[in-house]
Amino acid sequence: MIFTTIFLLQFLIGFGLVDRFGVINKLGQKISLSILLGFFVSSVAVFALELLHIKLTTFSILSVLALAALIINFNLPHLLNRLLGAFTENRDTVQVYELVFFLAAGYLLFYSVWRSYSIPVTPYDSIVGIDLVAKQAIKEGHIVSSIFYRPEFRPYLSTQPYYAPFTMLMQVIYRFAGLPFGQLWLGILTVSFFVFAYSKLCEKIHPVIAGFFVLLFITVPEMYAYTFLLQTDFSNAVFFSVGMIFTIEFLESKNIRYLFPAAVFMAAACWSRTETIILVIPVASIILVRLSSGRSFKLILPAFFYFGFCALFNVLWNVIFFKLYFPVVPEVKDQINWKGVYSWEKSSEILNGMNAFFFNANYWGYSIHIFLTLWLINMIFSRSKKVMSNLAWIALFYLCFFVMLHHFTLMNIEYTFRRAVMKFLLLMCLLMSRFPLLQRRIALPKIKSTNES
């Protein structure tokens, strides 16, 4: 009951915002993005409770979520209308050929959700990291609990709670909801993403191809495991890829309405792993460069809004929470390295390591190879800038990780970069619809209605 109420409130929070974006019309996208956005906003709402030093209880969490849902959907009759409208407008009929993929994806995702519900939190980082903080928050009523003070325990605490507020707060919410292991939200997030991906791909490519790609990416071996194993990377990858696809659509269309979902989901990505802001910097710079060609200051404001909104959540966590609220200030000086970077040895070591993990079919199946092959074929035949940009984004983020691996001592290739590859994969999944050769839809002949004849 509590779980249902919390989930419903999260959905309503997300729906209120998604509905305001004005560019998300498909039912599948509306529902899935409402859930994703609801998760993000509700985690921020619970964080606000902590900042106000209000004790975390099931009641306080329910109250703050209800309040957030009310603020966002202050006009209740309008909300009901929009909810009804979402289910009546743009209804897509499911074709028989889509069912094959629906059943296959449903089969795989069912076990993903079931495992996220029924198995405990097993990754070591999470047991002594975000999940431990969440459990202690339930006992003591605050995220800043005694585990942070106790010197004998601190060496055992993983660094996760310091950079991944989203996952930790979601664990707090869902453990308060009465779920034994909390992580059910991860399964829901997974399903939501793949529903969104399918719906988004279907906008430009045929459902058969879209279904194939979605199934291909669900069956990426290592990534499938992270759909029910509690880590911070998969949720980050989901928000990042959704944010990026809207960013790309904004850059293409220059329609300001795309900027809001782009900024919001990218901010959620920064909230789920704070180092994502490093990736936002070049993206915001590209927005700035692309829009400043209009020579109007008004046009470059979106770039500042985009970066500012993402940075806001970094500031909330890293500055307001850690510098002004958190009792033990974490030492970050030693975590940034400036010595011996970009030497030939170091660079080749990093690059070789990255390549070894990135192209490892044991981890990622053949999804990356398929993406690159499709890119090459499309490049040869269409030679469009659009196709070029598909790989350029991937290359840009690859470069960002190369730089980060040079400078951040806590980042390593084996764990940090390997799991970060999921960001690339989910983005690749969404970018599949942007290959012109795949966009040729198979048109079904129209049947004249009896009235017309």
Partner: protein, 175 residues
């Protein structure tokens, strides 16, 4: 005239059905490609999950006991909020090794093995990966209930941990 229109309509209908049938065959072929080749590993793994799912209601008590135990007891020990309880042997070491190490239940290469030693008996043994080279981890607990996370990087380390567990002795950290 009317007959011509009817014929056109029938032709269009049959064309539609033909296209749809072809698309269904195509999607089925693509599905088989993913199931049999690109995503074979995951489909194979999910078969194991399916068995686990079916066994879940039957072995509910033992599964949940081990899972709740794993979930709740470890952090309580680590933070030292709970005094050691009397140990309950949920899965005997030999059975565990036969049952879980050889037939892993969880997929990730990075997912650790958790072994818990409490006082004189094994409390919970939970396996997630047989690939100890990746990131397997064990939690050793000494006579006082102190926890010592240990990353297993070699076969010898894994063997010594198993031997320690089998021997029924508490972990004695080297100083």
């Amino acid at each position: 005239m009317q007959r011509d229109e009817k014929t056109t309509q029938t032709n269009q209908l049959s064309e539609t059905y033909t296209t749809k049938a072809l698309l269904t065959i195509a999607s089925f072929a693509l599905f088989l490609l993913v199931q049999g080749y690109f995503g074979k590993v995951v489909f194979e793994r999910v078969k194991g999950y399916k068995q686990e799912y079916r066994a879940y209601p039957i072995a509910y008590d033992s599964l949940m006991a081990s899972r709740f135990g794993l979930d709740y007891i470890l952090p309580k020990y680590i933070v030292g909020f709970m005094k050691p309880k009397k140990a309950v042997l949920l899965v005997p070491p030999k059975d565990y090794i036969t049952k879980y190490v050889k037939h892993t239940s969880t997929f990730s290469l990075t997912n650790p093995i958790y072994m818990f030693y409490m006082n004189t008996e094994i409390r919970i043994v939970h396996s997630d990966s047989h690939d100890y080279n990746k990131a397997n981890c064990t939690i050793l607990i000494d006579q006082q209930g102190q926890c010592y996370p240990m990353k297993i990087t070699t076969g010898q380390e894994l063997e010594s941990v198993i031997q320690l567990f089998k021997s029924g002795k508490a972990y004695a950290p080297s100083k």
